[in-house]
Subunit: 410 residues, 2 copies
């Protein structure tokens, strides 16, 4: 089976003015672009979104970091320090359905593009902001990045080995995790706008957004009365045994298989006992109940580990999974990028970037009528200036040439 | 400042038929409920969503796990094994805008509620499914839970100490992370439906969804050609120094502060040198450039750690943050739940549950016109049966009584 991606048209006609940078804002607007919205990045003429140069990008060659968060967008450069440039952005805001920004606290207001200003020009505008900390938080003036949000939002405190320091999950929950929540609120506000014509102001703080992703830890804490701790690869919410990762051959850093026997289904253990060649343990009273196994967790883990060490993680996953027990190999990013079934399903797509060249990346993972959204290249800096000035503002070629000559837009 | 939550009306009139269970599906439909949709959980009459009993809930007292993922919803119980019960759900599906399910592969089809069936009854239906693995994946028949998705989707491989085993982040990226992406596609499909009248089929696999949250790791791998590894609390994407967590007094498991000096801003180091009482290091050539500090990373970490050990994490965060350097204390779940500024901002709200009693939990973190969505209690099993049968299907009181007497609906 091979799936052809398609340009989705769900959000056809939705205009997004995107002043956001790095990841939290751009991941949000990119999701909207994949759904068919017209997303126009407004960038400074010199270097643009600092994400272009971040992590070893250069002015001649955008970083892979930039490509991955800015697919399917347009770019226009505007000198926001000039009165004429600011006027141009206000004119664009007057035409937009959505405006998104994630500058440092107070910066958008200093640019003269705050909610008070633009909502008067366009009462139908959905004005969406990402900050590190919420208005009214003691830290509301502080800067934040992904790792600061993960630290202050509780994510790090519940990630790591029980006897080790907190670790920062490799997933950028602070950035993309926040961006996804904002996208949900933007789309909901857009549905309301189609009914009422009215816009609204949306604000999300990265610290606050983290709480949404660790609600299991709050549920557990509410039940136990004790602060949620760190559990390595095991579950925070209570003991299931066997449950966790088990070592596989040939013993590399990611040669592990996750096996999870549900507390609610004693069949899992019976089946596993057969898979690992220890059928006599299925009904052994030392192991036959969840409670009994939880008491002998180390012993159980060792019994399972004796078998998993004789298997590759893929074989272990297949054999345990086929027996109807949830199991998953710990796959690394190289194994994932080289697994061609992701290409066949268009979950991985290759962006044809005009300067960087072909770049394979994960696409939007939800399939619409069987097809994933098509990944189109991230824009070169200012690539769509004329297109947008004409399409959104009806500027003539002469007017556009004058704006370019005056270094207002480029 | 104290913020009053409000019932949001963004999605007023949107009808969601929710056959989902546990977390991935319910987190998605709960987000829609917070935005104002009418979400009706269809549950089996005996025990309902297994999440009610999961993690130490009981039939008389829903688990905190259930409360946290099912706020603001309605519940109707239907015996899906009876022909009349199935007919009832098909009648509800005919009235719904959205139907969501996350049963094991093939189960919804065996229930006679597959896409082929319901799309014929309601061509405007948005039919949204969560599976563990994608159609066409070698593992498409496998079961998955949060931890399996985190293992197979690369998240665990990039989380943990560099010399330690993979860990599973405490955040439930596999479940809630997947649910949020599905919500974005559902809302986009709903926007399209309002234009075209047509529904669509949406499918997301939890493994695929994980790739979306670890795109930085793919960007880094693309740049370096080497598989992404584990970096403890540090960043995967490259060295910034100082950057990471630093120990604070009194030395408890979460007494750490994250300090991040940007590679792009040398001012950060100069300011930090002053904050930590070592102003002479600001211009010391051994430390004055990013490259120099990266070479002496351990030495730099020790210099910063000497100072942080004299501070609490809160003081360190405040002092470093006020100097304009991104910093964040590693806050634990108890500190977060006890921080009343979250209550003041209604980021934490207390659900008045009729049986469990008051239950404080994180609310939807995006504020709409300054106000967060109001958290309403999760429904008792079958609490809204009569309400929904009347409201959606126009059933009379006698008809409803007959359905209840025949144990078709309860």
């Amino acid at each position: 089976m091979s799936t052809t991606p398609k340009p989705l048209e769900c959000l056809k006609g939705l205009k997004v003015l995107d002043l956001s940078q790095f990841e939290a804002g751009p991941s949000c607007t990119e999701a909207l672009a994949w759904m068919g919205a017209e997303v126009v990045k407004v960038e400074n003429p010199k270097l643009g979104d600092p994400g272009r140069a971040a992590v070893f990008g250069s002015p001649d060659k955008d970083s892979t970091y930039f490509l991955i968060f800015n697919a399917n967008k347009k770019s226009i450069t505007v000198d926001l320090k000039s009165a004429e440039g600011k006027k141009l952005v206000l004119d664009l805001a007057a035409k937009a359905d959505v405006m998104v920004e994630n500058f440092a606290p107070g910066a958008i207001e200093r640019l003269g593009l705050g909610w008070d200003v633009v909502s008067k020009i366009n009462p139908g505008l959905i004005y969406a902001q990402v900050k590190g900390f919420g208005e009214g938080s003691p830290y509301e003036q502080n800067l934040a990045f992904d790792m600061i949000a993960q630290a202050c939002g509780g994510v790090m405190s519940i990630s790591g080995m029980p006897d080790g320091p907190p670790i920062k999950p490799g997933a950028t929950i602070g950035d993309t995790g926040t961006g996804m929540l904002l996208a949900i609120s933007i789309l909901s506000a857009y549905v309301e706008k189609q009914r009422t014509g009215k816009g609204q102001r949306l604000e999300v703080a990265m610290q606050d957004a983290m709480l949404h992703y660790i609600r299991i830890a709050f549920a557990t804490q509410a039940r136990t009365g004790v602060v949620a701790g760190r559990a390595g690869a095991k579950m925070l919410s209570g003991v299931t045994s066997p449950g966790g990762i088990y070592p596989c051959k040939p013993g590399g850093p990611n040669d592990w298989v996750y096996i999870y026997t549900s507390r609610g289904n004693e069949e899992h253990w019976k089946r596993l006992a057969r898979v690992i060649g220890r059928p006599e343990l299925a009904d052994d009273p030392r192991f036959s109940t969840t409670a009994a196994r939880a008491e002998r967790e180390k012993e159980v883990d060792e019994i399972v580990g004796v078998w998993t060490r004789t298997q590759t993680k893929q074989d272990a996953m297949r054999l345990v999974g086929e027996a109807g027990i949830p199991a998953g190999a710990v796959l690394d990013t190289m194994e994932l990028i080289n697994d061609t079934t992701f290409d066949d399903r268009a979950i991985m797509q290759t962006m044809a970037h005009p300067k960087v060249g072909p770049f394979k990346m994960p696409a939007w993972p939800v399939r619409h009528d069987g097809q994933p959204a098509e990944v189109k290249p991230s824009p070169l800096l200012g690539a769509s200036t004329a297109d947008v000035l004409k399409g959104w503002l009806g500027k003539s070629e002469d007017e556009i040439a004058a704006l370019k000559a005056g270094r207002i837009a480029g």
